[in-house]
Symmetry: C2
């Protein structure tokens, strides 16, 4: 493999996934991943533009940023691209009134949205909210629509909580897609529109950007399809089998400069700062 | 369309779906569908061989037959082909020890099965059992296996309860398939092995048999792919859009002789008795 400097030539901006890269979420509020607080600080001191690009749909941006700041991260709400605000914009543009199958933590993002007499279903990572009853209700709303519209905030397969791996919204999206014979519209990574919105916010072109994430398909593969470089960290939902993924080969694996330490310091900083 | 007599020429046996054809299940025990008790009685008085072929995986055969008998049906346990006993046979043959994500009502069918130190996951229509916690547990067991094996008792998309349409096991099977990147092995309709076992039990060849069901894909399409004829009733999960299904065209639509009555008497009896 080429040296970092070479592989990161021309990089002007970095998109950073949050869950599994900066911290592992959990019922206890979550834990910062070793070295990630320092790596973010170092990135922000460099000449690189930084944008946080997350599919987290359990929390409003305000709550997510508050949590990360308490864990020591230098991050503010206007640095975050997340799927709930992007979804609200789509709902307004298309005159859609959603039935919401979402986590209570993100409900405030939908405060301005008309949810009466629903003509679509929006699902997000509802966690405990993915009960049999709630899934049936969302299914029934879709089946009663002449043209069923399902919008999914991301399509992640699973993610890592402090207690272990848990199912993400993508699994439940697939359940509804199959039951209704429809295809969901995904708002979030790996949707190209979503990556582009994040790049636009920092004024960086795709070929000048690196996405750093723990999801080999959603983060790395998605970014590469948009013309970015993609690094997969070895934390969060990373699994050794990802290194032999049949379709996606990351441009790098380490979110860390020292081979003995998988997480401390950023290869982008090391190569480019 | 050809007359019934012509379309049913050479028919010697009938496979009858249960839920949505004989009765609509529900928390109240369910309700017989109008005319179906009489239609079954009439079929059994004819020269035709009859076999009940169900994907019901919420109840043991004993409980299902007890319920149907209370609703007035002439049915006994040894006339029923259902997925739980077929699954137990596969588990024993392959030395598989399942983690069970199933309904309490069917657990007794698995009494003889070793469930210690699981090396596969079996899911059935668990209904309320499809909680976020239980789905995560099944997912985690699969992710810890080197070669994850998922066996699903049927892959129905949804079915009709007296309270309305509800998600069937197939939706949750798809969720686990997607999350784990695997393909489930389906025991039940539309698996050809399952239809063949039902035909074998009555000594009838596929070309001599009619399957009567409410599922356009699982019952009608599945039976036709096995060389049977397939009728779709207009009860249970039937929806008007099924009549324009892009892939499956039933050999008949009526489980009833009188066009004004969708359910009374059987076209097979009418044509062949």
């Amino acid at each position: 493999m080429a040296a970092w400097g070479e592989r990161l030539a021309g990089v002007r901006g970095v998109l950073l996934d949050i869950s599994g890269v900066l911290y592992d979420c959990g019922a206890d509020g979550g834990r910062a991943i070793a070295g990630s607080v320092e790596a973010v600080a170092r990135l922000k001191q460099s000449h690189l533009k930084v944008r946080f690009c997350t599919n987290d749909s359990q929390k409003s941006r305000g709550k997510l940023v508050g949590l990360l700041r308490r864990l020591g991260f230098d991050i503010s709400e206007d640095e975050v691209t997340s799927p709930a605000p992007a979804t609200c914009q789509i709902l307004k543009e298309r005159g859609l009134r959603p039935h919401l199958l979402i986590h209570e933590g993100v409900r405030s993002e939908f405060d301005e949205i008309d949810t009466s007499n629903p003509n679509c279903v929006v699902i997000a990572d509802a966690a405990e909210g993915f009960s049999y009853q709630n899934m049936n209700k969302a299914f029934q709303v879709l089946m009663e629509l002449e043209n069923p519209v399902l919008i999914s905030l991301g399509k992640g397969r699973y993610y890592k909580e402090t207690s272990g791996l848990v199912l993400d919204v993508g699994a439940y999206m697939k359940a509804l897609e199959y039951a209704c014979g429809i295809e969901a519209q995904v708002v979030g990574k790996p949707s190209p529109e979503f990556f582009k919105a994040a790049l636009q916010a920092i004024g960086v072109e795709a070929h000048q950007a690196v996405m750093i994430g723990d999801d080999i398909v959603g983060d790395v593969g998605g970014a590469q399809r948009c013309g970015m470089r993609g690094l997969q960290v070895r934390t969060g939902k990373f699994r050794p089998t990802d290194e032999h993924h049949p379709e996606v080969k990351p441009d790098g694996h380490r979110w860390g400069r020292d081979p003995a330490d998988r997480t401390v310091l950023c290869p982008v900083c090391a190569g480019a700062a």
